[in-house]
């Protein structure tokens, strides 16, 4: 035997996944893989453990998958009681808040890897949650900067009827005001979601979408707010006027794209694809960042202790190389990961925001999302 076992420190990381009922995506290309997110955490675990060989640290990953109607708090307690102080959470906002409040007085740090709700970074922020998922405000700001940089400032908005659509629209309105976009009209798409897979209907859509977008005031881009994909993906190439589509369909803002290859991302994509046998998606990246953030803090502090890792993660010295052309860090005022955001269509990245010319007194990436002076977050 080589080194004595006592010399190696173990850092257990938990992953809590709350299953939710989601509509089937309009395109069968976008059906979510079963290991979405978990695969990203797993490859980050491998990265951490490669480093851990040299620092005598070992990282483990335990996944708790909570079925619809299951008890997420009980699942979290199970992880916590078995020594998991760092837990990634892939769950809707209300579940995340319940989890955060349930472990309020314990040495537990949660990573929100999926919920994009702005409120989680604002009035509903929690001291024991860091967010690696960008929120809707960051995503809308990133897209708006690109559209304004491109000199396409006049937007016709096509909005759905669900609360998520309106939340995204709020972020778009805010972004328009901040960066000089103009919403020329908001048009609501009232049809409720129907069957997604059918062997007929294309002809109807070809007729409906031009009519839906007919007679608009002069505009540059059709901006879609339709998070549940009721109609958004049907809009590109079917608008009455020949205009590009952006927002929740067409050109989108995202933390990661399977064809992103800048700043060393090629290696990440290759490593992930060899491991998971599929493309790396935004949720995989957001989980990768969370697990790597724990690993990085453990290797920098030379510690497996919760207090040391937690403090380092939130401190000035923390930075993580995450294939975005600059370090990613956590904003102290709301726990949000500060990160450049990709602007991409389905095939390729088009740009990375922040865009040139959108200035900030400290760091340009803080032009995306809720900045310190306007933050409503009071940690509790």
């Amino acid at each position: 035997m080589s080194a004595p076992a006592a010399a190696t420190v173990t850092v257990p990381i938990g992953y809590l996944e709350q299953d939710v009922k989601r509509p089937i995506p309009l395109s069968r290309l976008n059906v979510a893989p079963d290991d979405l997110g978990v695969a990203g955490a797993s490859i980050a675990l491998k990265d951490n453990n490669t480093t851990g060989r040299f620092t005598k640290q070992e990282f483990t990953l335990e996944v708790e998958r909570v079925p619809i109607g299951g008890d997420a708090v009980a699942a979290l307690m199970k992880l916590v009681e078995s020594g998991h102080h760092f837990v990634l959470v892939d769950a809707p906002a209300d579940v995340l808040l319940r989890l955060a409040d349930a472990v309020k007085d314990k040495d537990v740090l949660l990573f929100n890897v999926s919920a994009t709700d702005v409120a989680l970074r604002e009035e509903d922020c929690r001291a024991n949650v860091l967010h690696t998922a960008p929120d809707r405000a960051m995503l809308a700001d990133a897209l708006a900067q690109y559209l304004v940089w491109k000199k396409w400032p006049r937007w016709l908005v096509a909005k759905g009827v669900f609360p998520e659509d309106l939340a995204y629209l709020d972020a778009v309105r805010r972004a328009a005001k901040r960066f000089g976009g103009v919403i020329v009209e908001e048009r609501e798409y009232k049809e409720t979601p129907g069957a997604r897979r059918s062997d007929t209907g294309q002809e109807q859509i070809q007729q409906q979408m031009p009519v839906f977008t007919q007679g608009a005031p002069n505009y540059d881009v059709l901006v879609v707010a339709d998070e549940a994909e009721v109609f958004g993906p049907y809009l590109p190439y079917r608008t009455w006027d020949p205009r590009p589509v952006a927002g929740t369909a067409g050109l989108k803002a995202m933390s990661w794209h399977p064809a992103h290859e800048q700043w060393g991302a090629t290696q990440m994509q290759n490593r992930f694809q060899r491991f998971a046998k599929r493309f790396m998606l935004p949720l995989d990246y957001q989980a990768w960042v969370a697990v790597r953030a724990v690993g990085e803090s453990a290797s920098r502090t030379g510690s497996g202790e919760f207090a040391a890792i937690n403090a380092y993660l939130r401190g000035d010295k923390f930075d993580l190389a995450a294939f975005k052309g600059q370090k990613v860090t956590f904003r102290p005022w709301d726990g949000q990961l500060r990160q450049p955001i990709l602007i991409a269509d389905s095939q390729l990245p088009v740009s990375m925001s922040p865009q040139q010319g959108f200035l900030h007194e400290r760091t340009e990436v803080d032009t995306l999302g809720i900045d310190a002076p306007e933050s409503k977050c009071k940690f509790r």
Partner: protein, 327 residues
């Protein structure tokens, strides 16, 4: 206005070079064009492009063999190191580098060659004479920088995601020390006297100067460029003069090469170059320093004595590595 000043300064600098050193020796400069899949060949005296050699896909790290007869080219997307005969400017062979070779370096005796396999967490050691793999050393995630100590006893691999400089014994191929440095270490360079190792950290924006004997960090050098936000200061390539007086550090999208006093480790100057400057190489007489600018498709030529940028030369698409022949 700025441009006129620049040209005047350029002319003055060129004249001063000519006056100071008389007719400069002519060396051949090789630049790998990552997106152009080619090597641009330049003349260091006329600063003109002599030729463009088509090579494999995504050429990045390049180095000349000790006899200056061959240029070794990491053709990353072809998973090989190509051997270019500099006399005929043709590819005459390749080395079994393993997948995705990125940077490479030579033992002072001329062989073996050490290649970082970025995709495979390996440092591959290849004998140049018989082109056989002597060893594969497992290092951290995404190895990139390769430094060799002047006495040939130690090779360094830097791993970009593990954030370490791994010290590897060149006889046993064992890792003897791991030094944690700033995020995304890209390049490792020993001083000529072998006492110090400089490691650049692209994402942290720093350079760690490590004592080669104790393997402790002596100093972490920070950079501040007026008008450039800190996150755009991304050190990559570093070269140190043989007398150990000056170090030059390429700062990536800060579009500057920093001049550092290599004795006091204080930053003395920032030279404005092209966009996203990555790698650097001196001429053998250290009169000129060539800097590759990946986002402006050119090479900046720095006059070392006067610390002036004297010319920018258009090369291929996304210039990456640079090497200068003694002939």
């Amino acid at each position: 206005m700025v441009r006129i000043e620049g040209q005047a300064a350029l002319l003055a600098a060129v004249l001063s070079v000519a006056a100071a050193t008389g007719p400069a020796a002519a060396y051949t400069v090789y630049v790998s064009n990552e997106k152009g899949n080619s090597i641009t060949v330049l003349d260091s005296k006329t600063l003109e492009v002599l030729e463009t050699i088509p090579v494999g896909q995504r050429p990045r790290g390049i180095i000349l063999t000790n006899d200056d007869k061959y240029l070794l080219v990491c053709a990353s997307d072809d998973d090989t190191v190509q051997v270019v005969d500099v006399a005929t400017r043709e590819i005459v062979g390749d080395l079994p580098s393993g997948p995705d070779p990125e940077l490479l370096n030579l033992h002072p005796s001329g062989s073996p060659v050490y290649v970082a396999n970025e995709d495979d967490n390996l440092l591959t050691v290849i004998d140049l004479a018989d082109k056989k793999v002597l060893a594969e050393v497992e290092v951290g995630v995404e190895p990139e920088g390769v430094g060799v100590s002047p006495d040939g006893k130690t090779v360094i691999a830097t791993s970009e995601t593990t954030n370490m400089a791994h010290f590897i014994d060149t006889e046993s191929y064992e890792i003897t020390d791991n030094v944690l440095v700033g995020s995304r270490p890209r390049f490792a360079e020993f001083t000529a006297d072998g006492t110090k190792l400089w490691v650049t950290s692209e994402v942290a924006g720093t350079v760690s100067v490590i004592d080669a004997k104790t393997r402790k960090i002596i100093k972490v050098i920070n950079f501040e460029v007026p008008g450039v936000q800190p996150e755009y200061i991304q050190p990559v390539g570093v070269r140190i003069t043989k007398d150990g007086s000056k170090a030059f550090v390429a700062l990536g999208p800060a579009n500057r090469v920093a001049v550092v006093n290599a004795k006091t480790l204080e930053v003395e100057d920032y030279l404005l170059v092209g966009k996203r400057v990555w790698q650097l190489a001196f001429t053998p007489d250290e009169s000129l320093l060539f800097a590759t600018n990946g986002n402006s498709n050119d090479v900046s030529v720095i006059d070392v004595p006067s610390l002036k940028v004297v010319k920018s030369i258009s090369v291929g698409r996304a210039p990456w590595g640079v090497a200068v022949s003694r002939q």
